[in-house]
């Protein structure tokens, strides 16, 4: 329970930062950044939050189910744009996957190569 309260407190902190400092990011993303920093600097101990966080992260998909059901309400509009919307959404999603995946693969390979050289020098 303590874990859940801490996580909710970081979400509230995210809202506060967004409101007061006009950070153009959603509260949960700000909260995630703050929470990670708090763990890293030992302000929050892993043991306090671990059980709650592991449960929530494990079931992250569950919390999206109502959001997906909510897209139903847009069906009448989407129907009129079905082909364009479906094609551009799927093709563009493939572009994102391919560009990110290939770029990461290339850079990753190079940096692993450098790491090997570096170890060699040592």
């Amino acid at each position: 329970m303590l874990g859940l309260v801490i996580l909710l407190a970081f979400e509230a902190a995210g809202y506060a930062v967004r409101l007061l400092l006009h950070v153009p990011l959603p509260a949960n993303v700000i909260g995630l950044i703050l929470f990670t920093l708090a763990l890293q600097f030992g302000l929050v101990r892993l043991a306090w939050v671990e059980a709650a966080a592991e449960f929530l992260v494990k079931h992250l998909m569950l919390f999206f189910a109502p959001v997906i059901v909510g897209t139903m309400a847009f069906w009448p509009y989407l129907k009129t744009q079905l082909l364009t919307a479906a094609l551009s959404l799927t093709l563009s999603a493939f572009v994102v996957l391919l560009v990110t995946g290939k770029a990461m693969q290339l850079i990753g390979r190079r940096s692993r190569g450098e790491e090997r050289e570096h170890k060699h020098e040592l």
């Binding site: 970081f10 995210g14 153009p24 990011l25 959603p26 993303v29 909260g31 995630l32 950044i33 929470f35 990670t36 708090a38 763990l39 890293q40 892993l46 939050v49 709650a52 966080a53 592991e54 929530l56 992260v57 494990k58 079931h59 992250l60 998909m61 569950l62 919390f63 999206f64 189910a65 959001v67 997906i68 059901v69 909510g70 897209t71 139903m72 847009f74 509009y77 009129t80 082909l83 919307a85 551009s88 959404l89 799927t90 093709l91 563009s92 999603a93 493939f94 572009v95 994102v96 996957l97 391919l98 560009v99 990110t100 995946g101 290939k102 770029a103 990461m104 693969q105 850079i107 990753g108």
Partner: protein
């Protein structure tokens, strides 16, 4: 039971999710959310129970999306050494992927002769839903439509992303997770985190970077476009 009671939507969502997990255990190729969300939609349509009645309880489940996203800090923290090493490559590849996604979305809608109002919402589709809404707003589009596209893209990327990447020869954990997190934000991360903590944390980090990069690109575009 009164269908407008939050308990109704909560129980229906919980049962549908458990059914999704059970189906996924038996047939791993079937995405649990496809079964869960699809099952709820079919159930509501078959019984004639209005979406508004379901939403009362659905909203209760959705409240936990905030703390669940923040909880990704735990896998970040546990994989910090590995992540720190990948941070610069992630920044570069996730920004490239996000830019390519926004450009390709705009070009595709235009080339296919789609409705102009689709463009900003489609450009915002790959980032986490609340950021997608902000981006669409910045680009003069409809935030609600952007939210719908973001959710559908997340589901699509979560379902098809790993198989598509395998087909393209991208197989290592970090690259797959970077791509799925960038394309399919939290919904993709939700899938990967069940596979391994490393995949989940890289995907979560990619999702965060994609959200920040996407907002920056949109701010620049809004500035140029006036």
């Amino acid at each position: 039971m009164n269908f407008n009671d939050p308990l109704f939507g909560i129980v229906v969502t919980g049962l549908a999710y458990m059914a999704g997990l059970a189906v996924n255990r038996k047939w791993p190729a079937i995405h649990p959310l496809l079964v869960a969300a699809g099952g709820i939609i079919v159930f509501l349509a078959a019984t004639g129970i209005p979406y508004e009645a379901y939403k009362v309880g659905g909203d209760w489940i959705e409240v936990l999306l905030g703390p669940a996203t923040i909880a990704l800090g735990v896998p970040f923290y546990k994989n910090m050494r590995r992540l720190r090493h990948s941070l610069a490559p992630l920044l570069a590849s996730v920004s490239a992927g996000t830019a390519a996604g926004m450009a390709s979305a705009a070009c595709l809608v235009w080339a296919l002769g789609g409705d102009r109002t689709l463009v900003p919402a489609m450009m915002a589709k790959s980032v986490t839903t609340p950021i997608a809404m902000d981006i669409a707003r910045m680009l003069g589009g409809k935030p609600e439509l952007a939210a719908v596209f973001a959710v559908i893209t997340g589901l699509f990327g979560s379902v098809c992303g790993p198989a598509f990447l395998k087909l393209c020869g991208v197989r290592d954990d970090v690259s797959v997770a970077a791509a799925v997190g960038t394309a399919a934000h939290g919904i993709g991360t939700g899938r990967l985190v069940r596979e391994s903590e490393l995949r989940g944390s890289v995907s979560g980090l990619a999702m965060t970077i994609a959200g920040i990069a996407g907002s920056l690109f949109a701010a620049v575009l809004a500035l140029i476009g006036g």
